[in-house]
């Protein structure tokens, strides 16, 4: 192994500092005694307590979770279907145009997506509220799901589906009994991605939201405009810890599964 040079050490430190210093500050100040965010006045957990008393924040969190759950679920269904068609349908006229249009929302400025959705909802006379936010989030997170699922499908051995058909399964059975269980990990990660995207979306939600449908990002943003309160630090710290725990658990579980699988494969070769 090569020596750990000072250059390597410096770049590592700088890189991580750049990424994590803001978050560390935020976490540290969430335990601040003082109401002023920038002045340290001793350790305290009182802002966490106040956060749990704050009805507005809790309502907004509940709305956000509802929106994220429904939009990511609908987006997963639609995105998986789109990915399946793109990979399986082979060549048809306009295939390139179609696949380009699926991925276009990935690079579309959010302001434009939000504005166009707002105009649409006004045009068809849909009252803005939870429903419109769910629809808007579905629209943009669907293409992320389809990217994730289609990358899994492109390495999927099509002979498996042919084998299912050959054994008498209908095309629908072959999809639900064979394809779906095998690509399930990709579908689940697509769902999680859509869920996270919906959780932290501010721009599109603020265009399409209405009375009674204030999501957490909108709430935080409007609260910050009145001055940063340590309560928001506490809220953010909670969110960061939830995400961290989730990511670490997921990677541990999948790593253990991979190790287990490799061990079983080796055992199978030995006993052969």
């Amino acid at each position: 192994m090569r020596r750990f040079s000072w250059f390597n050490a410096t770049s590592l430190t700088l890189g991580f500092a750049f990424l994590y210093l803001p978050m560390i500050l935020l976490v540290v100040y969430s335990f601040n005694e003082s109401r002023l965010v920038t002045v340290w006045a001793g350790f305290s957990t009182k802002w966490y307590g106040e956060l749990l008393q704050n009805e507005e924040f809790l309502d907004a969190a509940w709305v956000t979770l509802k929106v994220a759950f429904f939009s990511s679920t609908i987006a997963t269904v639609l995105g998986t279907m789109a990915a399946y068609v793109m990979i399986r349908a082979g060549r048809f006229p306009g295939r390139t145009l179609f696949s380009g249009m699926i991925y276009a929302p990935l690079v579309m400025p959010e302001v434009i997506t939000g504005l166009s959705l707002l105009l649409l909802f006004i045009g068809i006379g849909l009252d803005r509220g939870v429903l419109t936010v769910v629809l808007a989030h579905t629209t943009f997170s669907m293409c992320y799901v389809s990217v994730v699922v289609s990358s899994r499908l492109s390495t999927f051995d099509q002979a498996l589906e042919e084998a299912a058909l050959d054994l008498g399964a209908s095309p629908f059975e072959s999809f639900t009994l064979i394809t779906l269980p095998i690509i399930a990990p990709a579908v689940i990660s697509g769902w999680l991605l859509a869920f996270t995207l919906s959780l932290d979306d501010l721009v599109i939600a603020s265009f399409t939201t209405g009375p009674g449908a204030t999501t957490l990002p909108i709430k935080v943003f409007s609260a910050v405009r009145l001055g940063v309160s340590p309560e928001i630090n506490a809220l953010s710290t909670l969110l960061i810890s939830i995400v961290t725990v989730g990511v670490i658990t997921a990677s541990l579980v999948s790593k253990r599964a991979a190790v287990q699988r490799r061990r079983e494969e080796q055992a199978a070769q030995r006993t052969a």
Binding site: E162, A163, D166, G168, E264
Partner: protein, 467 residues
């Protein structure tokens, strides 16, 4: 190879299980299968053999229902199945990659097809148990595919495709992923299972040894057409074209011009033993003679035959039936003497050479090669003499044989049981000769750069029209 009596393709009464009728398959401009007509009979083990891209896989996928023929019909028991979807036909397939469902156990993999038929649970269970027993997988029923070895996966794939008792089982390069030793064992297992279940098997392979081992009939394919269909021994001993001779096994091809051999000259010149004089024991030209015996009415003479084949049939179509290729009956000369090996050849007198056939002028200043089994119709044509290396004798002194070639040993490939000698004969042609290593290697008297004589009988080779 032991020949069984199973030969429905020779029985005009037999009803074929599968009939291809003028099947053509095009992918855009590319013609994968070109106007193919072929019958396959019940209980056959039929091998489709050919290089990659010859259309054998397309043919199989059309039988399974994954591709639809562009033109023509595919009949299964007389019913056109060309456009029936794969899940609605009594045909099952074993995939090259095995295509085992990775999330299901061995048991559930095998039960998959039965459950789609909505069969009662105990019936499914009994059938799966039977399949597990047949393929000796009882111990692995609850394992997932990644928890078993390659050979076991291959057997799961076979059990799964046999579980529904299909009329026809398709095997796509079934042994390609196994190592040589396991492959050979599995070939015999496959034949055994085919016999036990009585299912018709069609196997696609590019491995000619595998096709020869397992199949009752082999179809050699090239560029979307079947070039020859016959039993493995006929394919090997009596190929109908240079392509087939070259594709199957090792072969020496000697090009030359054919000349008709006087039918009686040889027998008249030397006083023949009395039993050879009778025409029954020494057929003049086995193939031509048989054709004459089988078909009623006058047969064309060589000139008429050439006229028909070369000038008239391209314009008016063929009206003379092509005689199916068959093995030539052993000639008196062949049965009389043992093949010349490294030991000095048993004296074979010129009068042992059956009369008739062709002489081949293959090189300026060299004596013509005798081929008593040559088709007289090829007189004057450019021909290829296809000689299998094991039919050539190699010796240091000139043996008394109908055909001898002088040459120099360039290379020796020692394979243990046999050795292949690469001999450059006069005229610069390389010829391979094989001899069994009946002696210890230290006692071998032929080595590199040695002058040797190659010899072969007048019926050892096959005369084919040069393409």
């Amino acid at each position: 190879m032991a020949e069984s009596d199973f030969a429905p393709w020779n029985d005009p009464e037999a009803k074929p299980l599968i009939q291809f009728k003028g099947v053509t398959k095009r992918f855009g401009d590319f013609t994968a299968i070109d106007d193919l007509t072929q019958d396959i009979y019940e209980r056959e083990f039929f091998a489709l053999l050919g290089p990659s891209g010859c259309g054998k896989t397309t043919l199989m996928r059309m039988l399974a229902g994954f591709e639809e023929p562009t033109e023509g019909q595919i009949l299964l028991n007389g019913v056109d199945i060309g456009h029936v979807p794969p899940n609605k036909r009594a045909v099952n397939m074993m995939f090259q990659s095995y295509a085992l469902f990775p999330h299901l156990s061995v048991y559930d993999n095998i039960a998959f097809g039965l459950r789609r038929e909505k069969k009662p649970k105990d019936e499914v269970h009994a059938r799966v148990k039977e399949m597990l027993r047949l393929t000796r997988l009882e111990r692995f029923a609850q394992r997932k595919p990644h928890q078993i070895s390659g050979g076991q996966r291959q057997r799961v794939a076979l059990a799964r495709s046999l579980a529904k008792a299909p009329k026809l089982l398709l095997l796509d390069e079934p042994l390609g992923a196994l190592d040589k030793k396991l492959r050979e064992e599995t070939q015999f297992e496959l034949m055994d299972i085919q016999e036990k279940t009585g299912t018709t098997f069609i196997i696609v392979t590019h491995d000619q040894e595998e096709a020869m081992t397992v199949a009752s009939r082999v179809a050699v394919m090239d560029e979307g057409r079947i070039v020859q269909v016959a039993t493995p021994d006929v394919i090997y001993e009596a190929p109908n074209s240079v392509y087939v001779a070259d594709f199957i096994g090792d072969v020496n091809l000697i090009r030359g011009t054919a000349r008709l051999r006087p039918a009686q000259a040889a027998t008249e010149a030397a006083a023949p033993p009395p039993e050879q004089a009778s025409p029954e024991t020494t057929p003049a030209a086995p193939v031509a003679k048989e054709a004459a015996a089988k078909t009623d009415g006058p047969q064309p003479n060589p000139l008429g035959r050439a006229l028909h084949d070369r000038i008239l049939s391209p314009i008016f179509g063929t009206w003379l039936e092509e005689e199916p290729r068959r093995l030539p009956p052993p000639s008196a000369a062949e049965t009389a003497k043992t093949p010349a090996a490294e030991t000095p050849a048993t004296p074979a007198h010129p009068q042992d050479i059956p009369p008739g056939g062709l002489e081949i002028d293959w090189s300026e200043g060299q004596p013509a090669l005798l081929a008593a089994n040559g088709d007289p119709a090829l007189d004057g044509e450019k021909v290829v003499l296809a000689l299998r290396p094991e039919k050539l004798g190699i010796a240091k002194t000139r043996p008394d044989a109908p055909n001898t070639l002088k040459g120099k040993v360039i290379d020796i490939a020692y394979l243990g049981n046999i050795s292949t000698y690469h001999v450059e004969i006069e005229g610069g042609v390389m010829v391979k000769a094989q001899a069994a290593n009946t002696r210890r290697i230290s006692r071998r008297d032929i080595t590199w750069e040695d002058e040797v004589w190659l010899s072969f009988t007048a019926t050892a080779g096959v005369i084919l029209k040069d393409e």
